[in-house]
C-alpha cells in the first residue's frame, strides 16, 4: 500500500532536482520561449534562478512531510520530546521562567536545572515562530510549530547552500548545491517533520556561519565578520556541535597562514568573528566560560594569539628595513611567544583552570577511546562508527561526486575553496567515526558534489554550444574559461566530441535522477518513522501499527499518583516526563553517570537487591520495554549488556562475565543463572512463559531473539505487574511497599 504512494510523491522531487541541475542548459532553451516577453538575458537568468530556488525551497519542505502523512503530526524519537516539553514551558511561562527553570521531575532526587543545561536556541526559535504566528492571528498549537520547525529550517538551509555555492564557485553550483542538500538523505534523516531536535536548526546555523565567514574572508569586511559572529552565536545557542566551528575555523586560518595566504582580510575576519563570537557565546549559560577555560576551545585562542604575533611581526618588518635584524627579532619573538603560550597552557591545565578534553572529544580523535573508557558514550547507537553501507545510503551518488568536486576545487584554489575542502575532509573523517556526524558532513559533501556537477555540466554544455559558435565561447563564459577554451582547442581534433558530450550529459542526468529517486525512497521508507509509533507489515502486506509507547505513557498519566517516580532505562526518560508527566530517575540527558549506573545496577541485580536500591530512590513504578512478542529488536533485553557495563563501571559488584556464557549473550536455557534471575530478565519475561507467540513454536518463544526463553516460571516478590500494553512492548510494574510483618 505504501509503495503506491511513491510515484506521486516521487514526481515532484525528481523533476525539480533535475530542473535545478538543468539550470544552465535550460537557460538556452527557455530563452526562446521568454523572448516574447522581451526580457533581457540577465533578467531571464534572475527569474529562472529565483523560481528554481523557490521550487527547491518548497521541495525541501514537502519532502520532509512523509511522516506527517503516514502517521500524524507528532514529535519523534527521544530527545525531541524533551525539546517539546521545554518549548511548551517556554511558551506558557515566558522566557525568564524558562531560563530559571529547576525541573524536579527528572533525575529524581537530584533534579536538573533546565535553563543552565540546555542549548536554548531551538526552543526560543520555535517559540518565536509561534508568537509571530499568533501575532499574525494564526492560532496554531505549539506542537504543530515544533513538528514543522525542522522542515522549515531545512528549506532555509537550501537558500544558504545556494549563496555558499555561489560564493565558492558560481551561481550554477549554488543552485545545484541547494537542490542536492534539499533532498540529501544524510540531512533528511535529522530534519523530517517531527524530528524536533537541536540539529534541525543547527545545520542551518552551521552553514550560515561558514558562509558568512568565507564571505568575510573574501571581502575583509567587518560587517560580514560581525554577521558570522552572530551566526556563530546562534549555532552555540542551538547545538553542542558548535565546537566543530570553533576548531575548524582556526584550523582553516592556520592553514592559510602556513600556505602564505595571510592577508589583512583574514586578520579582520577572524579577529572580529572570534572575539565577538566568543563574547556572545558566553551569554549562553550552558557554555559559560568554556571558551576561555576548556581544552577544546584553546586552539581558537592559540590561533588568535598567533595572528597577533603575525601582525606584530609584519609591522616590525615594515619598520625595520634590515632583514638580518628582522631575522633575529623573528627568532626571539617566535621562541618567546611559543614559550609563553606553552607555559600558560601547562599552568592552566595543571591548576585545573583549563579543563581537559571531554570524553566525547577524545572519542572523536581516537574512535576506540569511548569503547574502553566511557561505556555510556559508546552505548548510544548514534555514536557508533559508521558502516560503509550507511555512507552509501545517506550520500548515494554524492559519494563519488565528492572526489570529483575536490578535484575541481584544487584546480581553482582560492580562500573559499580551501575552506570548503577543509570542511569536507575533516567532517567526512568525523562522519566516519560517529554515525550521527554524517549530518555535519552532509552540507560539505553536497557543496563539493555540486561543484563537480555544475562544472561538468557547464563544460559539457559549453562544448555543445562552442560547436555552433566557436568564436564567442571565450567571451561569454567568464567562469571556467580556461577549461572550455582548452576543450575548444581539443574540439577541432575530436570528431565525436558533440555526441560524447551529449552521452555524458545524459549520463549525468541519469545519475541525478537516480539520486532523486533514491532520496525519495529513503525518506519515505527509512527516515520518516517516528520510532514512538512502530509500523510493521502484516502477513497480507497490510500495515500494522504498534502504538504501545503512547498507550503506556498515557496509562501512567491517568493511573498513577502525580508524584509517582518511574524507573526505566535512561532512553525512555524524556518520553515518560513529556508524555506520562511523571518523575523519572534518569533520562536522556546523561549528565550523571553514577545515577545511571545505579539504575543499571538495579536492573542487573537480583530482585531483593534491586528492591533495596529502588526503595532508596523512592521508586514507585518500573518500566521496561520488551520486544519478545512483536519481534521488536531494540528492546531492553538487547540493551541489557550496556546496563551491565555502565553499572559495572561504577559498581564493581556487577561483572559482565556473570551474564554471559562463553562470551555469548543468551536468554534461553543455556543462559547464565545470574542472567535468568536478574531483575530485567524477570520483568521482561514475567508471565511470558505461558504465551504462544508464534504458531508451531513452544510457549515462551521470544521472537526478537528467536529462542525459547530459559526461565518460564518467574515469581515476583517485591514487584507486581501493573500494566502491559496490548503488544507487550511496554511493561510497567508497581513496587510493593515493604511487607507488613517482616
Amino acid at each position: 500500500m505504501g509503495g503506491k504512494q511513491d510515484p506521486t510523491a516521487n514526481g515532484s522531487p525528481k523533476s525539480e532536482s533535475m530542473g535545478a541541475k538543468k539550470a544552465s542548459p535550460d537557460l538556452l532553451n527557455s530563452s526562446f520561449s521568454f523572448k516574447s516577453l522581451k526580457l533581457k538575458t540577465k533578467q531571464q537568468e534572475l527569474l529562472l534562478r529565483v523560481s528554481i530556488l523557490g521550487l527547491v525551497y518548497v521541495l525541501a519542505f514537502i519532502a520532509r512531510l512523509f511522516s506527517v502523512l503516514r502517521y500524524e503530526s507528532m514529535i519523534h524519537e527521544f530527545d525531541p520530546y524533551f525539546n517539546y516539553r521545554t518549548t511548551l514551558y517556554l511558551t506558557e511561562k515566558g522566557f525568564y521562567e524558562f531560563w530559571n527553570w529547576f525541573d524536579s521531575e527528572s533525575w529524581y532526587p537530584l533534579g536538573r536545572i533546565i535553563g543552565g543545561t540546555l542549548y536554548p536556541g531551538l526552543m526560543v526559535t520555535a517559540a518565536l515562530i509561534y508568537w509571530t504566528l499568533r501575532f499574525l492571528r494564526f492560532f496554531v498549537h505549539i506542537r504543530e510549530v515544533c513538528v514543522l520547525t525542522a522542515p522549515f529550517f531545512a528549506s532555509n538551509t537550501t537558500i544558504v547552500a545556494y549563496f555558499f555555492g555561489k560564493e565558492i564557485w558560481d551561481t550554477g553550483a549554488g543552485l545545484v548545491a541547494a537542490a542536492l542538500i534539499a533532498i540529501c538523505p544524510g540531512y533528511i534523516s535529522r530534519s523530517v517533520a517531527g524530528s524536533y531536535d537541536n540539529e534541525a536548526v543547527a545545520i542551518f546555523a552551521l552553514l550560515l556561519t561558514f558562509y558568512l565567514f568565507v564571505k568575510a574572508v573574501k571581502t575583509g569586511s567587518l560587517s560580514w565578520a560581525l554577521g558570522s559572529a552572530f551566526g556563530y552565536f546562534y549555532m552555540v545557542s542551538a547545538w553542542g556541535g558548535y565546537v566543530f566551528i570553533i576548531n575548524l575555523v582556526p584550523l582553516y586560518v592556520l592553514v592559510l597562514l602556513i600556505t602564505g595566504r595571510y592577508s589583512m582580510r583574514l586578520y579582520v575576519a577572524y579577529n572580529c568573528m572570534y572575539i565577538l563570537g566568543m563574547l556572545l557565546a558566553m551569554q549562553i549559560r550552558f557554555v559559560g566560560f568554556q571558551h576561555v577555560q576548556s581544552g577544546e576551545h584553546m586552539g581558537a585562542m592559540g590561533v588568535f594569539l598567533l595572528m597577533q604575533v603575525f601582525y606584530f611581526l609584519d609591522w616590525v618588518k615594515y619598520q625595520l628595513n634590515d632583514t638580518k635584524l628582522f631575522q633575529t627579532f623573528l627568532r626571539i619573538t617566535v621562541t618567546s611567544a611559543i614559550l609563553v603560550g606553552g607555559i600558560a597552557l601547562g599552568v592552566g591545565t595543571a591548576s585545573g583552570y583549563i579543563s581537559p578534553w571531554t570524553g566525547r572529544f577524545y572519542s572523536l580523535l581516537d574512535p576506540t577511546y569511548a569503547k574502553d573508557h566511557i561505556p555510556i558514550i559508546a552505548s548510544v547507537s548514534e555514536h557508533q562508527p559508521t558502516a560503509w553501507s550507511s555512507f552509501m545510503f545517506d550520500y548515494h551518488i554524492l559519494l563519488f561526486l565528492f572526489p570529483a568536486g575536490l578535484y575541481f576545487c584544487f584546480k581553482r584554489l582560492s580562500d573559499a575553496t580551501i575552506f570548503i575542502v577543509m570542511y569536507g575532509l575533516t567532517s567526512l573523517y568525523f562522519a566516519g567515526v560517529m554515525v550521527r556526524l554524517i549530518l555535519v558532513a552532509t552540507p560539505a559533501v553536497c557543496l563539493i558534489s555540486a561543484i563537480a556537477v555544475s562544472a561538468t555540466v557547464k563544460n559539457l554544455t559549453s562544448l555543445l554550444r562552442t560547436k555552433q559558435k566557436v568564436p564567442q565561447t571565450g567571451s561569454t563564459k567568464g567562469v571556467g574559461s580556461s577549461k572550455s577554451s582548452s576543450k575548444v582547442t581539443l574540439d577541432q581534433s575530436q570528431p565525436f566530441q558533440k555526441n560524447g558530450a551529449i552521452a555524458l550529459l545524459v549520463g549525468v542526468f541519469y545519475l541525478l535522477s537516480r539520486y532523486a529517486i533514491h532520496c525519495t525512497w529513503v525518506t519515505s521508507e527509512a527516515y520518516s518513522s517516528p520510532s514512538i509509533v512502530l509500523a510493521a507489515r502484516g502477513a497480507h502486506g497490510n500495515r500494522i501499527i504498534f502504538d504501545d509507547y503512547r498507550e503506556a505513557y498515557y496509562w501512567l498519566r491517568q493511573n498513577t499518583p502525580t508524584d509517582a517516580k518511574v524507573m526505566s532505562w535512561w532512553d525512555y526518560g524524556y518520553q515518560i516526563t513529556a508524555m506520562g508527566n511523571r518523575t523519572v530517575i534518569v533520562d536522556n540527558n546523561t549528565w550523571n553517570n553514577t545515577h545511571i549506573a545505579t539504575v543499571g545496577r538495579a536492573m542487573s541485580s537480583y530482585e531483593d537487591e534491586a528492591y533495596d536500591i529502588m526503595r532508596s530512590l523512592d521508586v514507585n513504578y518500573v518500566l521496561v520495554v520488551f520486544g519478545g512478542v512483536t519481534g521488536y529488536s531494540s528492546d531492553d533485553i538487547n540493551k541489557f549488556l550496556w546496563m551491565v557495563r555502565i553499572g559495572g563501571g561504577v559498581y564493581p559488584v556487577i561483572k559482565e562475565p556473570d551474564y554471559l556464557v562463553n562470551g555469548e549473550f543468551r536468554v534461553d536455557k543455556g543462559a547464565s543463572p545470574k542472567m535468568l534471575n536478574c531483575l530485567m530478565y524477570k520483568l521482561c519475561y514475567y508471565r511470558f512463559g505461558e504465551l504462544v507467540t508464534e504458531y508451531g513454536k513452544p510457549t515462551g518463544y521470544d521472537r526478537a531473539r528467536g529462542v525459547e526463553i530459559g526461565n518460564k516460571d518467574i515469581k515476583l516478590e517485591h514487584l507486581e505487574e501493573a500494566y502491559t500494553t496490548s503488544n507487550w512492548i511496554v511493561r510497567i510494574y508497581r513496587v510493593k511497599p515493604p511487607t507488613n510483618r517482616l
Partner: protein, 437 residues
C-alpha cells in the same frame, strides 16, 4: 414534613456506619474482641483476665475454635477489632478461619493475642511464624530452669519459671514497675533474627533451656539461655500489635493468684506479677497506651505562613508537626525530647531535634542547605513500644534565579573600574587617532 423526615433518614443513614465503626483513626482502642478457645472451661479458669478486659469496656465474644460459624469479616467489613486465640491445641479452625485470614486480619491493622502451650498445634505455630516467632520444634519440650524456678513448683521438674527479665518500656508494661516475678509454664520460642519488628517482652534467664522434662536429655538443647523468649510482641508496619506467649497458664486465675518466691531469693511475694503483666500487656496490645498520632508536616519560610511550592537554597524555614498520644479515652499532647526531623535527599542533609511546646506541637527552624534537588522532610520516629511515625513530605529546592545573585560585589570594583576606563580610553584614543593631524 416529608422532606424533613427524608433528610433525617438520610442523615442517620450516613451516620450509621460512623456510629457502628468504633475502631478508627480517631479512636484507636479496640472495642470488639473475638476470643477463640479450644475448651469453654478456659472461660472460667482464666476469668480474671477476661473480666479485667470486660471492665475496661471491651466487648468479648467467646467462641470455640472449632465453631463452624467462625468468621472474621462479613461483606468485606471486619466484625472485630481484636482477636485473642487461647486455643493452643486446635489443629483446624472452624468456619472460614485459617492462618492466612488471621495474617490478613493483622495486616488490616488489627490486633492479636496468641497463646501457645506445650504441644501447640502446627496451626498455632504457623500463625506465630507469620509474626516472626519460632516455637521450639519439639512439641513436648518445655522451658526448664534449674536456678530461677518458682519454689512453689511441687513437681520438681523446674518447669514453673519465675521470670523477671522484663523489657524496660513504660509504653508496653506501664509506669508501675512489676515487682513480683512472672510465673510461666510453657513452650519456648525464639525470634526470627531478620525480623526487626518483633521483640522479647519476657525473656528467660541465662540458665534456662528448652527440653522435654519427662525424658532424659540425649543431645544438647537447641534453645538455651536468654535466646529463649517467653512472651514476645510484634508491632507491624501498619502498627497492628501482636502478643505471642508460650504459656497459656500465664493468663490463668491460678497463676494470677498464686504467691511467688524465686528459688534462691529471699523475697517472697503474696501475689505473682502475672496479673499486672497480663493486664498491662493487654492495654498495650489493644492500643490503650503507646499510640501516637501525628498531624501533617507544616513548613514555611521564616516570616511567612503559607507553605511554598519550592524552596530556594539557603532559605530559612520553620518546620512543625503536631504529635498526640492516645490516653485510652482522649488524645493528649505527646511530650518527648527525642523527635527529630530530617531534611533528606538520599541522605539527611539536616538532622534536627524538635523542641516541643508541651501542647503537642514540635517545631524547629533551620537553613536550607546549599544543595539543590528534590528534598523530603522526614520524621521517622521509632520508639520502643510506641507506634512508629513515618512521615515524609516532598519539597524541591532550587538554586538562585538569575536575578537573585549579588549585583555588585565590592571586591570586584577594581575590575569594574578597569573595564570602564578601558572603554573610555579607547573612545578617547579613537578620537585622537582619527582627528589628530
Amino acid at each position: 414534613m416529608m422532606n424533613l423526615s427524608r433528610s433525617v433518614a438520610l442523615i442517620s443513614l450516613f451516620l450509621l456506619p460512623l456510629l457502628s465503626f468504633s475502631f478508627s483513626v480517631d479512636n484507636p482502642t479496640d472495642r470488639r474482641v473475638l476470643v477463640l478457645l479450644d475448651d469453654l472451661s478456659l472461660k472460667s479458669s482464666h476469668s480474671i483476665f477476661f473480666s479485667t478486659l470486660k471492665s475496661r469496656g471491651f466487648d468479648l465474644d467467646f467462641k470455640l475454635a472449632e465453631d463452624s460459624k467462625l468468621a472474621l469479616q462479613r461483606y468485606g467489613q471486619y466484625l472485630y477489632d481484636g482477636l485473642i486465640i487461647f486455643a493452643p491445641s486446635t489443629e483446624r479452625f472452624g468456619g472460614s478461619l485459617d492462618s492466612k485470614s488471621i495474617a490478613d486480619f493483622v495486616d488490616s491493622g488489627r490486633d492479636l493475642i496468641l497463646s501457645a502451650d506445650t504441644s501447640a498445634s502446627d496451626l498455632i505455630r504457623g500463625i506465630a511464624l507469620e509474626c516472626g516467632v519460632d516455637f521450639d520444634e519439639d512439641s513436648s519440650a518445655m522451658v526448664i530452669d534449674h536456678s530461677s524456678f518458682s519454689v512453689s513448683d511441687v513437681d520438681g521438674d523446674h518447669t514453673l519459671i519465675a521470670a523477671d527479665d522484663l523489657v524496660k518500656s513504660h509504653a508496653i508494661l506501664g509506669k508501675t514497675k512489676i515487682e513480683a516475678p512472672v510465673l510461666f509454664r510453657g513452650v519456648a520460642h525464639s525470634l526470627n533474627p531478620t525480623n526487626n519488628l518483633v521483640l522479647k517482652v519476657l525473656s528467660a534467664s541465662p540458665s534456662a533451656y528448652s527440653a522435654n522434662p519427662s525424658s532424659k536429655l540425649s543431645s544438647p538443647p537447641q534453645l538455651t539461655g536468654s535466646a529463649i523468649s517467653l512472651v514476645s510482641v510484634m508491632q507491624a508496619r501498619n502498627n497492628a500489635r501482636v502478643v505471642i506467649s508460650g504459656s497459656l497458664q500465664l493468663f490463668s486465675d491460678k497463676l494470677f493468684r498464686s504467691g511467688v518466691q524465686k528459688a534462691g531469693s529471699p523475697n517472697k511475694y503474696e501475689k505473682s506479677g502475672n496479673e499486672q503483666f497480663a493486664t498491662e500487656l493487654s492495654k498495650w496490645v489493644f492500643h490503650e497506651r503507646g499510640h501516637l498520632k501525628a498531624g501533617s508536616l507544616v513548613h514555611h519560610r521564616v516570616g511567612e505562613t503559607d507553605e511554598p511550592a519550592i524552596y530556594r537554597i539557603k532559605d530559612d524555614l520553620e518546620f512543625s508537626v503536631e504529635i498526640l498520644e492516645w490516653s485510652g479515652k482522649s488524645w493528649e499532647p505527646y511530650v518527648a525530647d527525642d523527635v527529630q526531623v530530617q531534611f533528606y535527599m538520599m541522605s539527611p542533609y539536616v538532622l534536627k531535634t524538635l523542641s516541643t511546646d508541651k501542647k503537642g506541637l514540635f517545631h524547629t527552624s533551620f537553613k536550607v542547605p546549599d544543595v539543590y534537588g528534590v528534598f523530603q522532610f522526614k520524621v521517622e520516629y521509632e520508639k520502643l513500644g510506641y507506634t512508629t511515625l513515618s512521615l515524609s513530605k516532598q519539597i524541591p529546592v532550587r538554586p538562585y534565579r538569575h536575578n537573585e545573585y549579588e549585583r555588585f560585589i565590592p571586591t570586584a570594583y577594581p575590575y569594574y573600574g578597569a573595564c570602564f576606563t578601558t572603554m573610555a580610553g579607547f573612545f578617547v584614543f579613537s578620537f585622537v587617532y582619527l582627528y589628530h593631524k
